[in-house]
């Protein structure tokens, strides 16, 4: 059976080290104030520490990252937003990888009713922000309202 890596607590977040001696930092940022929400809202991210060159395939990395989300929702009814980095133009690849991980490792989740929605915000400069929002199923509507509720003016739903 596939086993996720052990995570350790560090300043500013968490980290784990793989069998290939690669270390990943994982973090949550409290962005509740930004959305003026009654429910806690976190931004979530992770990254590989100080490594150049090829990264050997390691299925336990995806399992560990999704396990962290599972662990989060086992003890929180809060909401997580995931917005991929875009400066290197690889945001869609990141989302694709994340979706593969989610589909592959969801069967290991302990927390029930964990789900995600995705909203692609497009604005005038033809730029997109793709926001993935994670929640436990009873929180779907409040989660979406946190995003939409922060849109007091006009918005159009194109599909």
């Amino acid at each position: 059976m596939l086993v996720p890596y052990n995570i350790s607590v560090v300043d500013n977040g968490y980290e784990f080290t793989t069998k290939n001696n690669l270390t990943y930092s994982v973090y949550f940022i409290d962005i509740t104030e930004t959305f003026q929400s009654q429910v806690k809202v976190y931004s979530f991210g992770f990254g590989l520490v100080n490594h150049a060159g090829e990264i050997p395939p390691d299925e336990r990395v995806g399992h560990t990252v999704t396990k962290i989300l599972d662990d989060f929702f086992c003890v929180n009814d809060d909401i997580i937003l995931y917005v991929p980095m875009e400066s290197d133009g690889k945001e869609k690849e990141r989302l694709r990888l994340f979706d593969i991980w989610w589909a592959t490792y969801k069967k290991y989740f302990v927390c029930e009713n964990l789900d995600k929605d995705r909203i692609e915000f497009r604005y005038e400069s033809n730029k997109d922000f793709i926001v993935t929002i994670f929640f436990k199923e009873p929180q779907r509507q409040p989660a979406l309202e946190i995003l939409y509720g922060s849109l007091p003016e006009i918005w159009d739903e194109s599909k």
Binding site: G47, V49, V83, D115, R118, E120, F129, L151, W155
Partner: protein
């Protein structure tokens, strides 16, 4: 998973999302440099686990 596409004209909202992205870019660079644990900033890191 449900996916929606929303056309938006609200610049305040765009700033909120841009702030999240900017923070991630900053943190990503620090992680790459091996300096994640040393970040001192206004970013509200949390350890909710």
């Amino acid at each position: 998973m449900k996916t929606k596409v929303i056309n938006i004209r609200n610049t305040e909202f765009i700033k909120k999302i841009q702030k999240i992205v900017d923070e991630k870019e900053f943190i990503y660079q620090k992680i790459k440099e091996g300096k994640f644990k040393e970040i001192k900033s206004d970013i509200k890191f949390a350890r909710p686990l």
